[in-house]
Amino acid sequence: MSALVAGMDIGSTTAKCVLLEGKEIVGKSLSPVGVDIVKDAEVALELALRDARRERSEAAFIAGTGYGRYKVYFGQLTVTEISCHARGAHFLFPGTRLVLDIGGQDTKAIRVGSSGEVIDFAMNDKCAAGTGRFLEVCANALGFDIGEIGPLSLQARHPLKVTSTCTVFAESEVTSFVSRGKEPKDILAGLHASIVSRSLSLMQRVGIEPEVTFTGGVSRNEGMVLALRRRLGAPVNVSPLSQFMGALGAALAGQARCEGAAA
């Protein structure tokens, strides 16, 4: 019988935990991250265990990833989210050769080999331009919840051109569009397109090759998925587990470590 392995992705806005047994995901959790990251990591694990109806003592191995990975003190392994997203994407979509991960504070384009290994990667610079935070700030500026903006952007009839991907400047630009009476759905379409443009340049940096798998919290936004598909002119893999890809990858790395292979 396979060991129960926990993969924990402690990101900038949410903590994700996946419990893996063999090739089966037996439990998972998604919870917010606040100022006490250690506690948030504990909570994420407890929630996933509850979801799987398992006890803490049953978890044979715990691997952490994400910016808060060093706060998973109770784990045995840390792996970067770049490797984890590659591994997770390859697990769900074995044909994956390029991963686009857009999270709360960064965007990554990852070239993946046939075994799920990272060949090359490119990331946004050290500001939150063109990330989930960017969308969140702009959604707030328009008075919407983050979950509403994707579907709304799909209704746009005259998408506007948002020139800035700087979160602060884009917020001002949104305010300016609103004051000029522009439709929120048209503004939102422009915002989504600007993120896709920025992501595309990162993807081109490492080389675009099918299949493309879209991961991270922003991949749950259907407006983003459509905008990306349109720009690429090709299908894009998106899983209902996209947001858990890092945690899944961490669990897979944990499994590999348990089996004596390189994490």
């Binding site: 952490g64 910016y67 060093y70 998973v72 003190y73 109770f74 784990g75 045995q76 392994l77 840390t78 792996v79 970067t80 989210e81 770049i82 490797s83 960064d106 080999g113 046939s114 075994s115 799920g116 290994e117 990272v118 060949i119 090359d120 990667f121 990331m123 610079d125 050290k126 080389g207 090759e209 790395a253 292979a261 390189a262 994490a263």
Partner: protein
Amino acid sequence: MTGAAGAAPPREGDFLDSGRELQRRLVEEYYRGLAEAGGPQRPVAYMLVGGNLTEIVRSFGYEVVFPEIVALNCAIKHRSLENILHAEAMGYGLDVCGYVKNDLGLQDLGGSTPFGRIPRPDLLVCSFSGCYVYVKWWEALAESYGAPMFTYDVPYLREEVPYKEDIQYMVAQLWEFVHQLEKRTGRAFDMEELKRVLRETRRAEEGWARYLRAGRLRPSPIEAYFEAIFYMFPINVLRGTAQAADFYDVVNAEVERRVREGNLPLPEEKVRVLVEGVPPYTNYRTFWDFFRKWGAVSVVATYPKVGGLFDRGFLHDPARPFESIAEYSLGAYVNQSWTLRRKLIQEYLREYSVDAVVIHGIKSCRSFTAGQGDLRDWLIHDQGVPTLYIESDHQDPRYFAPAQIKNRMDAFFESLDQRRTTKAPATEVAA
């Protein structure tokens, strides 16, 4: 919890011994000596590192100050930001070179550093004209101090063998420079003294080159980036003195001892790295830790060659003083085209059995950094060498984001580890 890299490595300086100790002493003595320099008895010349004319000014009795080196010394001591902020308050913009702002801020604040006070210049020698910002920096200093300025116009090197017209043009400038120095100091030019200085220079260059070539050994007994940066001080600041030449004898004896005793930069050399680019001096040790954690040793680096590519065979020649100084200035790493820089890196990859390349770009200098993105692509796609490009700054700590840089470096070394074990086909690596 441990990362995939395993246990924490030993402390950064554990393998360093007499060479590092002597280097520290030389730095202290140099800055102490500067405190009394300046004026007609011991005039001070400010000079730039690239293609510098140290030997000529030394033959006239000048003390040499390299503001770039003073600036990087301030940065490594975490004193650059206050100078930079002061320069910005003076009106220098965010995107002006960190060397320039660090130095101009320092000068305006009185020239006091953690290692002593920097004397005013009696002469400004703009020895590298490839960077227009540097020319403007020197002009600002000239205006501020009312000191005379000599601009040495060095043509850009596009082909391996320099044009003889370029050499003639530069030799003519060197004679003009010598005549100016004769007028300013009231001393006659002494060719024998210049040749004597050049003999010391050559001895130091030979020692420095021997040290750098030790990186070819496997495992490498030297850290060709992080350690070599300490040892650049004598070859750049004290070149032409017996102190500099003797220093490399001490260092090379230490390197031989390391090989004999197995006292190496890391207990296990897992990855042999070539590093390109100016280091983030403000977070130098943190950056080094990011390598050491993964068992990565820099066996060769391009940055320590900014003061001269002596490891490639060039040495000042006392028998041809002016011509060899001109050849030296032309061949400075910063003065070379990307074609030549790429060729050099390609040779290093082979000679030093390099596994991976890390490029560190700096926000401050577009002229040095522009092209590094293409270099990365060329290394990955044409040379099949895993390459990481990261960016921060050499002087301004505001551009160094530790978490982000660490994340990229961890991911890079992690992927090398993973690819070694999954044995990814070479075509994929080079795709």
